[in-house]
Symmetry: C2
Subunit: 357 residues, 2 copies
């Protein structure tokens, strides 16, 4: 006998990137930041008294919310702190989408979105991107026609790395009949002019997702937040969120992280520079990548290359370098490479070169 709901029974679940135990692997497969978090975070941890864990933590992480609000020039009521971006994505569905109602997204996109839709028994309306990864002109019309209640847009886009500009986002927000989530997981690596915060002030249907996992080098912490109009934030904060969703030590680390934003942003700038350098080095080897504003490159393996994308993934793995290969039609001739430390990126380039000999 089984007790699962039918939609759960038939779904597969999200498959995250490989996480090898040892530290010898050069891990360029899950877009972790190669630089350490701000030194002040170590102080917070070292000075943390275990006795303070005896009590329940602040339920809404208000200190963190105030810091985030101040950073973005909004109010505390515009911020919800969540366990990584993942929790915010789930809460958006729980709060705004009835089972059976559609959720809009691009194709391809972050592969977690359709999994979260399946959990709520919602169809995913996947609008294919143009060949240059731009949004089709009829994007919002297609979403509205499908009566989507929520749309997930990751920007900069994953897995291409492409940045949609704020003008495009603004048009989408005003044309959509429903809630728009702009997932800015990778925004800290953007090195061109980009500021989407005015969108949440101008539109009652826009929520921006931020995470400390990438830009702040804290993937192991599970801390993110949402920025949006109060009527969008409040029901998640007061009703659908697990009542104490964030532990005490995590809240204090997150406060230190955002208070030391400059340290993190300097590292992000280094990553962006390395990204641009790696892109050139790979191009010299015949491997073009999409123009990326993230901490990864989506690299196309041309038919004339010495091996296929899948083989490249496998060959590099044998050499102790993990990159990401997606078994998806549009991505079959591509690999995604996270930006590592300069020496790691060099090792990668050398390994690719050695395959060509």
């Amino acid at each position: 006998m089984y007790y699962e709901r039918e939609n759960i029974k038939k779904m597969l679940g999200y498959v995250s990137g490989e996480q090898p135990e040892g530290s010898n692997t050069i891990k360029l497969n899950t877009n972790e930041n190669p630089y350490p978090p701000a030194p002040d975070i170590q102080n917070v941890i070292t000075n943390f008294s275990s006795e303070s864990l005896r009590r329940y933590p602040p339920a809404r992480a208000d200190k963190f919310r105030d810091l985030a609000a101040s950073l973005h020039g909004v109010e505390r009521s515009n911020i919800i702190a969540t366990r990584g971006g993942d929790e915010l994505l789930r809460l958006l569905i729980t709060t705004f989408v009835n089972p059976g109602e559609a959720i809009g997204m691009t194709s391809p996109t972050y592969s977690l979105y359709p999994v979260l839709a399946q959990i709520q028994d919602c169809p995913s309306v996947m609008i294919p991107l143009n060949d240059d990864w731009s949004l089709p002109g009829t994007f919002t019309q297609q979403i509205n026609r499908a009566n989507c209640k929520l749309t997930f847009l990751v920007n900069p886009h994953a897995p291409s790395g492409k940045l949609f500009d704020t003008e495009t986002l603004s048009t989408i927000a005003s044309e959509l009949n429903s809630v728009l989530l702009i997932d800015e997981a990778y925004v800290d690596f953007v090195d061109v002019n980009y500021d989407s915060i005015p969108l949440v002030c101008d539109n009652d249907n826009v929520i921006i997702l931020r995470t400390l996992s990438k830009g702040y080098s804290l993937a192991g912490l599970r801390f993110g937040y949402g920025i949006g109009a109060e009527p969008l934030i409040k029901p998640m904060l007061d009703k659908t969120r697990d009542s104490y969703n964030l532990d005490l030590i995590g809240q204090q680390i997150a406060e230190a992280a955002i208070s030391n934003r400059n340290y993190a942003m300097e590292n992000c700038q280094k990553v962006a520079n390395e990204r641009n350098k790696l892109s050139e080095s790979l191009l010299e080897l015949g491997l073009a990548s999409e123009a990326s504003q993230t901490n990864f490159l989506l690299v196309t393996i041309p038919a004339e290359f010495v091996c296929t994308a899948k083989q490249l993934y496998e060959e590099l793995k044998v050499r102790g370098i993990l990159i990401r290969y997606f078994a998806e039609e549009k991505l079959a001739n591509k690999v995604r490479i996270s930006i590592g430390l300069p020496q790691q990126n060099k090792t990668l380039v050398d390994a690719v070169k050695s395959l060509q000999l």
Copy 2:
């Protein structure tokens, strides 16, 4: 314009106990453990390297799962680690109950259950307990007749403190047509013979919830786990759980906590002894409480007492002592008092005495 689902729009959300900022209050309102967590936990924190937060944490907390499995004499596949018990409760609904399907529980019970049911748009079937807080003989028949897909039973019971014996639970488990969650949040304070683990081996529909919040003095950590047959655990582990639900430092603290179980259990025994003593002291003042196997007492304020239950809550609050009052019909003449340190309990008794002068 609002975007909330109708069921979210009309619900109120869970209201947790007051959490004053300062430390001068004697806080006997949210069932926190008055003793500190095991000393080894401080070592784990002090020696934790912030750099390790750069990477994603182990997705399934397998080290913790192995320790919990070993403690309970089950397999790793019988354990899911969650963010407090709350996450497990939510995952059970998400995984096993379609919107519109009923969820069974007693009345009264832990007030979070009906809130979680509302979030999934599920009716709560609330079966009133007998006047002595025992289960009515027709409990499972009523649950089955209402076609409940999941039943929440907190044991020892909250807010009465009463323990249902394993024979009763075994009968319920075998008679129910659906999943039974036995919420053992307070089980570490039981000082009579009680072992429910065989129930998960004998029944494919039973999951036991454990938390580190109470017995292990780690309410601020948000860490719990479920024990059940693999077909119940696996869909929550592989499909409905947020993909990295537990941060790295939390996992290591939880591992240390469960490895130092003896330390925690000695403190729980102290709490149980204090509970029995406080119960007697209050009885001497004319305030009888239910026989409790938890770290709290449900105390009845008789009509002839100098004040009502609500007034007692308010009078004690003025004196810097927080207890819990529930504005619910069956609990209107009662207060719930968490067991504190011996000196705190004495201060409470003295304060009650002073009201009678």
